[in-house]
C-alpha cells in the first residue's frame, strides 16, 4: 500500500512518515502542493494524506484539481481548521475524510485503514457478515448463529458501521461522527456505554466475542481467527 503525504511542516511529515511506515505502508512525502499534484497524477497511490493549508497553494484546490483530472484516489485532509463549515468545504472539494489537528496517531491510522478498505469496496451490500453475525440491510434484521437480535435504530446504525469496518480499529470520534453526526467530544465517554450495550446484545451468551476494545484507540469488530 502506497501513501502520498503532502505536508509542508517537516516535523509533522516525519512523524506521519514514521508512524505510517511502522504500520507497514510505503510512504512518499512532498512539502510542495504542486509537486504533490504531479506525483498524485503520475504515480499510483492507494491514499493521499494532504494538509489543508500549504504554502502557496491551498490543499483544497489541489484536491479539486486532482478530482477534475479524474483521479479517484481516497484523500484524507489534515487541518488545523476544525469548524464544521471548514469540514464541509473540505468534503465538498472532494476529500474523503477530514481530520482536525491535533489528532491522536491511533485516530489517523484508524481513518487511513477505513479509507483504504473503502477503496476496495464493490457493489453496495444488502447483507453484512462478520463470523456468524449477519445483518440484513433491506429487512433491517440482525441474527447471530441463526438467533434473531433485537436492536434499537441507533444500535443498528452503530453495528452497521462496525460491520462495514470489520477487522479495523474504529475510534470513538469516528463513531460519533458517523452514527450521531457530532463533531465534538462529549465530556463523558458516552460511546463506551453504547458499545457495552451493543456488546450485551451481540456477544452475551455466545462463546466467542466479536466486539473488542482496542486500548488507547477504540473498538474493533472481528471474528475469532
Amino acid at each position: 500500500m502506497r501513501i502520498l503525504v503532502i505536508e509542508d511542516d517537516p516535523q509533522t511529515a516525519l512523524y506521519l512518515r514514521k508512524g505510517l511506515e511502522e504500520g507497514g505502508y510505503i510512504v512518499d512525502w512532498t512539502a510542495d502542493g504542486r509537486d504533490g499534484l504531479f506525483m498524485a497524477a503520475s504515480e499510483r497511490y492507494d491514499l493521499i494524506v494532504a494538509d489543508r493549508m500549504l504554502p502557496g497553494t491551498d490543499g483544497l484546490s489541489i484536491i479539486k484539481m486532482l478530482r477534475s483530472q479524474g483521479i479517484r484516489t481516497p484523500i484524507l485532509v489534515l487541518s488545523a481548521l476544525g469548524q464544521v463549515d471548514d469540514r464541509v468545504r473540505g468534503l465538498e472539494a472532494g476529500a474523503d475524510d477530514y481530520l482536525v489537528k491535533p489528532y491522536a496517531f491511533s485516530e489517523l491510522i484508524a481513518r487511513v485503514e477505513a479509507l483504504l478498505r473503502r477503496g476496495s469496496a464493490t457493489a453496495p451490500d444488502t447483507v453484512l457478515r462478520v463470523g456468524d453475525l449477519e445483518m440484513n440491510l433491506l429487512a433491517r434484521t440482525v441474527t447471530r448463529g441463526g438467533r434473531a437480535i433485537e436492536l434499537k435504530p441507533r444500535e443498528f446504525r452503530l453495528l452497521e458501521y462496525l460491520m462495514r469496518h470489520a477487522d479495523q480499529v474504529v475510534t470513538r470520534t469516528m463513531l460519533l461522527e458517523a452514527v450521531w453526526d457530532y463533531h465534538f467530544d462529549p465530556q463523558t465517554n458516552v460511546i463506551d456505554v453504547h458499545i457495552s450495550r451493543l456488546r450485551q446484545k451481540i456477544d452475551k451468551g455466545f462463546g466467542n466475542a466479536l466486539l473488542h476494545t482496542v486500548r488507547g484507540a477504540g473498538y474493533s469488530l472481528r471474528a475469532a481467527s
Binding site: G82, Q83, V84, D85, P102, A104, R154, W180, Y182, H183, F184, D185, P186, Q187, T188, V190, V193, H194, R197
Partner: protein, 487 residues
C-alpha cells in the same frame, strides 16, 4: 482645503452641470427681453421715419415745392422734436432746406436707408458726433428728401439694456457657481469628517466614531449606520481579544503542569517502566489540554457571533432527542432516570453542532452531579414566539449567589474531585445561548439545578443587536451576578 480637490468632487461636477442647465434656461428669457426692448426700438424708429415720409410727400403733392420747403423748415425748427432730421436737396445733392448743412451720403437711391454721424446744427450738449438713421425719398421733381432720426439716445438705451442683461446673466451664473462651490465644500467637509474618522480607526483608534450633528439628514443617517457597524466590529474585536487572552492565560497552567511532570520523570531513575508511566500520564494531560483548547475555540466562535451567518432552520426537539438518545444509556448505567418531554415543531434558526453540544453539556453536568436514583428531566416546549428548553436534575444545585459565576470559564462549584470536568461546560452553554440570542436562566429544581434556555423563534422576537451587545458586556463584568439570567 486645496481647490483642485473641489474640482474632483462629484458635488462640484453636479453643480456645474446644474449651472449649465440653469444658464441656458436664463438665456432664453433674456433673449426675449432683449428682442422686445432693443429690437423694438429700431422697429419704432423705422416706422416713425416711414410715417413722416408719407406725410411730407402728401404735403408736396398738395402744396408744391415751396409748401414742402416751408413745412420742412417748420418741422426742423420745432423745439419739441430735436431728434428729427430733415434735408431737402436738389438733384446735384445741394441742400435746399432742413437741419443738415450737407448731403450726408454719397448715393441717393430712392427708398435707401442710410446711417451716418453728424454734428447737428444747434447741438450744444456734447461734442461727440450723433448717429442718425435716415431714409432717402426721391421727389417727382428729381429733388431728394432725406428724413431721419437722431438715434443716439436710443442707442444709449439699447446699450444700457444690453449691459444690464449681460450683468444680470453674469451675476446669476456667478452666484450659481459660488453656490455650487460652497455646497460642494460643505458636502466635502462632511464626507471628510467620515474619511478622517475611518482613517483614524484604520490607524488603530478603534473607539473613534463619526460625529452626528443631530439634524437627522442623510449624512447623519450614514454616520449613525457607520457607527453601529463600528460598534459591532469593536465588540467582535473585544470578545475575540478576551478569548485569545483567556486562551493564553488558561492554557499556561496545564502546560506548566505537563512540563513539570516530564521534568520530574527525567530527574528520576532512568528506568523504562517509570518513563512509560510518565509518558502515559503526559499523553493523558495533553488530551485534557486539547479538550480545553477545543472548548475554548468553540466558545470563541459562538462568542464572536460570527457563526450567526451559518445558522439554519432546525428542529430543536430533534436535536434534543438525539442528545437524549446518546445519553440515556449513560444515565441508566448510573441508576438515573431520564425523563424527556419534547414538543414537536420547535423550529428555530440555529447551529446544530453547537446546540447539540450545549444540550449535551447540560445533560452531562446533570448526570455527573445527580446521585443514583435521581431523575434527569429534559423538556422542549414550543410556544408561539419562542422555544423553551429546560434541563433539570436532583443534584446539589447551585446557590443563587453562585449562579452568575458558574457561567464563567473554569469555574467549578463544590470542588468534588470525584467529578471530572474542565469547568467550561456551562460557559459554552452561555456562549451558545448568546449566539442564538436565547436567554439562559439557572433556577432551583427543588432539589437540584434547573437550567432554562428560551430561544426566540419569530424573526421579530430576535433582539436588536444593541440589546445583544449589552448582554455580552454584562457578561464580561463578573460583578453582575446572573446577568444573563435576568435579561
Amino acid at each position: 482645503m486645496p481647490l483642485p480637490k473641489i474640482f474632483q468632487t462629484s458635488t462640484f461636477r453636479f453643480s456645474l452641470v446644474n449651472l449649465l442647465v440653469f444658464g441656458v434656461s436664463m438665456i432664453i428669457p433674456f433673449a426675449f427681453v432683449y428682442s422686445s426692448t432693443v429690437g423694438s426700438i429700431d422697429t419704432e424708429t423705422n416706422a416713425a421715419i416711414g410715417a413722416e415720409i408719407r406725410a411730407l410727400s402728401e404735403d408736396y403733392e398738395r402744396l408744391g415745392h415751396q409748401g414742402l420747403i416751408d413745412e420742412i423748415t417748420e418741422r426742423a425748427n420745432d423745439p419739441t422734436d430735436k431728434d428729427a432730421i430733415y434735408l431737402l436737396a436738389d438733384a446735384s445733392l445741394k441742400p435746399l432746406a432742413g437741419n443738415l448743412s450737407i448731403w450726408p451720403s454719397e448715393t441717393a437711391k430712392n427708398g435707401q436707408w442710410v446711417q451716418f454721424s453728424i454734428d447737428k446744427v444747434g447741438d450744444e450738449d456734447d461734442s461727440a458726433p450723433d448717429t442718425v438713421r435716415a431714409q432717402i425719398f426721391k421727389l417727382p421733381g428729381n429733388e431728394l428728401l432725406l428724413i431721419g432720426r437722431d438715434i443716439h439716445e436710443r442707442r444709449l438705451v439699447q446699450r444700457r439694456i444690453t449691459v444690464a442683461l449681460g450683468w444680470a446673466l453674469a451675476i446669476t451664473l456667478g452666484l450659481g457657481l459660488t453656490g455650487g462651490v460652497l455646497m460642494s465644500r460643505y458636502m466635502l467637509r462632511r464626507v471628510d469628517v467620515i474619511t478622517q474618522t475611518s482613517r483614524m480607526i484604520v490607524d488603530g483608534a478603534l473607539s473613534r466614531r463619526v460625529p452626528v450633528r443631530g439634524t437627522g439628514d442623510e449624512f447623519d443617517r450614514l454616520a449613525e449606520n457607520l457607527n453601529q457597524m463600528l460598534d459591532q466590529i469593536e465588540h467582535l474585536m473585544m470578545s475575540m481579544r478576551t478569548v485569545t487572552d483567556s486562551i493564553a492565560h488558561d492554557l499556561r497552567s496545564p502546560l506548566t503542569h505537563l512540563k513539570g511532570r516530564i521534568e520530574l520523570a527525567l530527574r528520576g531513575a532512568p528506568d523504562t517502566q517509570s518513563y512509560r508511566q510518565a509518558l502515559e500520564s503526559a499523553v493523558a494531560e495533553t488530551d485534557r489540554i486539547l479538550a480545553v483548547f477545543n472548548s475554548l475555540i468553540e466558545m470563541a466562535k459562538a462568542e464572536s457571533g460570527v457563526g450567526r451567518t451559518e445558522l439554519a432552520s432546525l428542529d430543536l426537539g430533534a436535536v434534543a432527542a438525539d442528545v437524549v438518545d446518546l445519553y440515556e444509556p449513560v444515565a441508566e448505567e448510573r441508576g438515573l432516570t431520564m425523563a424527556a418531554s419534547i414538543d414537536s415543531g420547535a423550529v428555530l434558526l440555529g447551529n446544530r453542532q453547537l446546540l447539540a453540544q450545549a444540550i449535551a453539556n447540560l445533560v452531562d453536568n446533570a448526570i455527573k452531579y445527580t446521585p443514583s436514583g435521581g431523575t434527569i428531566s429534559l423538556s422542549i416546549e414550543s410556544e408561539p414566539n419562542f422555544v423553551r428548553l429546560t434541563v433539570g436534575d436532583n443534584g446539589p444545585g447551585v446557590a443563587p449567589a453562585d449562579r452568575g459565576r458558574v457561567l464563567e470559564r473554569f469555574v467549578r462549584i463544590g470542588h468534588d474531585p470525584a467529578i471530572s470536568g474542565s469547568g467550561l461546560g456551562l460557559s459554552l452553554v452561555a456562549a451558545v445561548a448568546r449566539l442564538h440570542r436565547a436567554t439562559l436562566e439557572l433556577g432551583d429544581n427543588n432539589p437540584g439545578l434547573r437550567v432554562t434556555l428560551v430561544f426566540p423563534t419569530a424573526p421579530s422576537a430576535f433582539k436588536p443587536p444593541e440589546l445583544w451587545r449589552a448582554e455580552a458586556e454584562i457578561k464580561q463584568k463578573p460583578a453582575v451576578k446572573s446577568a444573563i439570567a435576568n435579561t
